[in-house]
């Protein structure tokens, strides 16, 4: 797809690109704010969020009281929705979304919304740090242990679920032929290393609500014999297994490829992935270092990378919600955002399987596309929303003697310095030329915003 440059300068377009990928996108005013900081300083700010409870957590709990003690995914929805729609620490939420799909725990089986939120918070807390730390913590996460049946893994009868997924889906991966850089014996050894690791029995939630899940290690049920894992032999436990796994070149390659696919492009560029794998290895598996290398690379900054990645439902929903900038207090609409994402095929806190979601073009089918267009269009119709008001003001201040093409460009700029393909640009320019000059200017601009949000181009970030 060739692109037509909107009426924005190069720095603005680049900053908008960064904020769409490292976050969910930004309003034009927010882009200006970050332009004053500069690109690299913005990257550093995104990469170094201060972990902690948001200031409005009390308000959220007060309004959505059932989400405080979320017994199900449905009850938990508003908690994460609110953060994705409003948190100033965009990459903290985006990396949580990334790990939520890669280290996937399914909410339906777990049936414990509170624990699902605990897991998301784990991703916020350590998701940008060392991969070793993350893998150790997720291996002690009671939700994960329950999800992958590790409470049924005993020293005399190990259950291989966690050991297998740890190697295949969480760290080393497999190639297109289903081959991994590990063997079935490694799966068995990993499973034995994790015997005795489980979630504690917990209270049934059905009459008093959920109680926190807790990790339990039972040394009596742990296989203390030697195991050979990835060529190394010893009396390994789960911690040892993680330490061995994170040092594998295949782990560096796999995690780097997944980060590339999530933050850069659906189709991996092998040369770039190898560079990132080197960064991963040189920095002891620090995810922050890999992302820094991504965002500061000429490859990421290049025009050919922009608007090539299909927005996930979460990216579309929360990106559009942020554009409207209307979520200043928790309300009914906050919880509805998660429902919109679900209608588009992404039931947050409940990935379809341990593989998470299949990203890229698979997000789009005719039903999902209708949902996407209807949602985005309905949000941008809300001229009472502060973000839409700002967009209208930007278009108005661009002047009243714009050519049709300049008018479309002014609208694109107001919507966060986005760009369109030549074909779409020509169609919208033709439409703008046909709009009556006597039409109410607010209506004219709102109509154009909605049209832009209804284009195939808006499905990409």
């Amino acid at each position: 797809m060739t692109t037509t440059t909107a009426a924005t300068d190069t720095d603005t377009a680049l900053m908008a690109h960064l904020l769409r990928r490292a976050g969910f996108g930004a309003t034009r005013n927010q882009i200006d704010h970050y332009l004053e900081k500069g690109y690299e300083a913005t990257v550093e700010e995104l990469l170094n969020p201060e972990y902690g409870e948001p200031e409005d957590q009390d308000l959220l709990d007060r309004y959505f009281i059932a989400s405080t003690e979320a017994r199900s995914v449905g009850h938990a929805d508003p908690q994460w929705s609110w953060r994705m729609a409003t948190s100033p620490k965009q990459l903290e939420e985006k990396i949580a979304l990334f790990w939520h799909s890669l280290l996937a725990v399914g909410g339906i089986k777990l049936d414990h919304g509170m624990e699902m939120l605990t897991e998301i918070d784990l991703f916020r807390r350590v998701g940008l740090g060392k991969f070793r730390t993350l893998l150790l913590e997720i291996s002690r996460n009671p939700g994960m242990m329950y999800w992958l049946d590790n409470q049924n893994s005993h020293k005399d009868a190990p259950n291989e679920n966690y050991g297998r997924e740890l190697l295949e889906l969480f760290s080393m991966g497999i190639d297109q032929n289903g081959e991994g850089a590990y063997t079935e014996d490694d799966v068995k050894a990993a499973a034995r290393a994790f015997t005795g690791w489980a979630s504690k029995p917990t209270m049934p939630p059905f009459f008093l609500g959920p109680f926190p899940m807790e990790f339990r290690f039972d040394p009596e049920d742990h296989d203390e014999r030697d195991k050979t894992l990835l060529g190394e032999t010893g009396n390994w436990n789960g911690d040892d297994a993680v330490n061995i796994i994170v040092q594998q070149p295949a782990t560096a390659e796999f995690i780097s490829r997944r980060l590339y696919q999530f933050f850069v492009a659906d189709e991996p560029d092998q040369q770039e992935v190898r560079k990132l794998a080197d960064v991963f290895t040189e920095n002891d598996g620090e995810i922050r270092a890999v992302l820094r290398a991504i965002f500061n690379s000429e490859h990421f900054k290049s025009e050919e990378i922009r608007f090539r990645k299909v927005k996930s439902p979460a990216e579309l929903v929360y990106g559009t919600a942020r554009l409207t900038d209307r979520f200043d207090l928790p309300d009914m609409d906050t919880s509805q955002l998660a429902n919109y994402a679900m209608f588009m095929g992404q039931h947050l806190l409940n990935p379809p399987s341990v593989e998470g979601w299949h990203e890229g073009e698979e997000w789009i089918d005719s039903g999902a596309l209708v949902e996407r267009i209807n949602f985005a269009s309905s949000q941008l119709e809300r001229t009472d929303a502060p973000g839409v008001e700002q967009m209208l003001e930007r278009v108005r201040s661009a002047g009243d003697s714009l050519s049709p093409r300049e008018y479309v460009n002014a609208c694109l700029d107001a919507m966060g310095a986005i760009q369109l393909s030549d074909r779409t640009m020509n169609i919208l320019t033709e439409h703008a030329a046909g709009q009556s000059i006597h039409q109410d200017q607010r209506n004219r601009a709102t109509e154009m915003f909605q049209l832009i949000a209804s284009t195939p181009d808006y499905q990409y970030c």
Partner: protein
């Protein structure tokens, strides 16, 4: 569903107001007998039309036994007979006289007038029983007589008005005319400190009960704000819980194995409080889906 307020009718029945997330429809007022938890009937179920409730926050009985219900989604006060028959409702969104921006607390004084905590407008509004706006007091801030997202309200036997000034972590007391009288509390978790007090209740025993929401406890004070006692929750299994476990032995087994017997007793986000003439204290344990009941010495009989 999550119980957020509880009131005793003069006939002795207990009215429990429950809400849930905005998108979940477990909303209602349930009426039960307080002694043996016998369910009697329910009303004000989920909905936005008259007679329904969407995001209800508080309720109170008037001297004529009519029940007033505040709803922060519909921005209204609804009025019911005690049998649940809907009578009327009033209110609309806004910041002008007689308008609401998320009414959150409600109490009736001895004359039958209503005091409504209009929390996003940071004020308390006074209404006649038939919905005529009478007066209001309070502004946003941290000074005396100012509020920051206030929530609960209670009126004592001298018609003084007590407000749970939620984000200021304090209780404020006002004269019947809305003049500031006193305040106590600060942010923290020591005795006499609060982490977002959700409810204040002037007990029949003369004590002031405060649901210290994010500290998961109820603190008891005398009327000058001196801390007397802290309740952290002492729940036993209710009759309904026991029946549930009796017919679900597998889950009874999970409960036994969890080792959480002590944790099970504790409050989790306590909200509305009521006291009865028999010395009972009823506390809506909002995130544990139950009412915890404490027994104090009953009121002395009049001679």
């Amino acid at each position: 569903m999550n119980p957020v307020d509880v009131r005793l009718a003069r006939d002795g029945n207990l009215y429990v107001l429950s809400r849930s997330n905005a998108s979940n429809k477990n909303v209602r007022i349930s009426v039960v007998t307080p002694i043996d938890s016998e369910f009697l009937f329910e009303f004000a179920n989920w909905g936005t039309e008259p007679g329904k409730a969407t995001q209800p926050t508080a309720m109170d009985f008037g001297p004529d036994d009519r029940l007033y219900l505040a709803d922060e989604f519909t921005q209204t006060i609804s009025v019911f007979e005690k049998d649940g028959s809907f009578l009327t409702r009033w209110g609309e969104e806004g910041s002008g006289h007689g308008q609401f921006n998320r009414p959150s607390g409600l109490a009736v004084d001895s004359a039958g007038d209503l005091f409504v905590v209009d929390h996003l407008n940071a004020r308390v509004q006074k209404w006649s029983p038939d919905g005529q706006h009478l007066s209001s007091f309070g502004t946003f801030g941290t000074g005396h007589g100012q509020f920051n997202f206030p929530w609960g309200i209670s009126i004592d036997d001298q018609d003084h008005v007590w407000i749970a000034d939620w984000r200021n972590d304090r209780i404020q007391r006002f004269s019947p005319e809305g003049e500031f009288v006193s305040a106590f509390g600060s942010s923290g978790n020591a005795d006499g400190q609060f982490d977002r007090p959700s409810s204040v209740h002037c007990g029949r025993d003369g004590n002031i009960y405060v649901s210290d929401w994010r500290n998961d406890r109820v603190q008891v004070f005398d009327r000058d704000g001196t801390h007397r006692e802290t309740l952290v929750g002492s729940a036993t299994l209710s009759r309904w819980c026991q029946e549930f476990l009796d017919v679900n032995p597998e889950q009874a087994g999970w409960r036994e194995n969890s080792g959480m017997a002590e944790r099970e007793k504790l409050f989790w986000r306590p909200a509305g409080i009521e006291t009865g003439p028999d010395g009972r204290i009823y506390i809506a344990d909002s995130c544990r889906h139950r009412i915890q009941i404490y027994q104090r010495a009953p009121e002395p009989a009049l001679v």
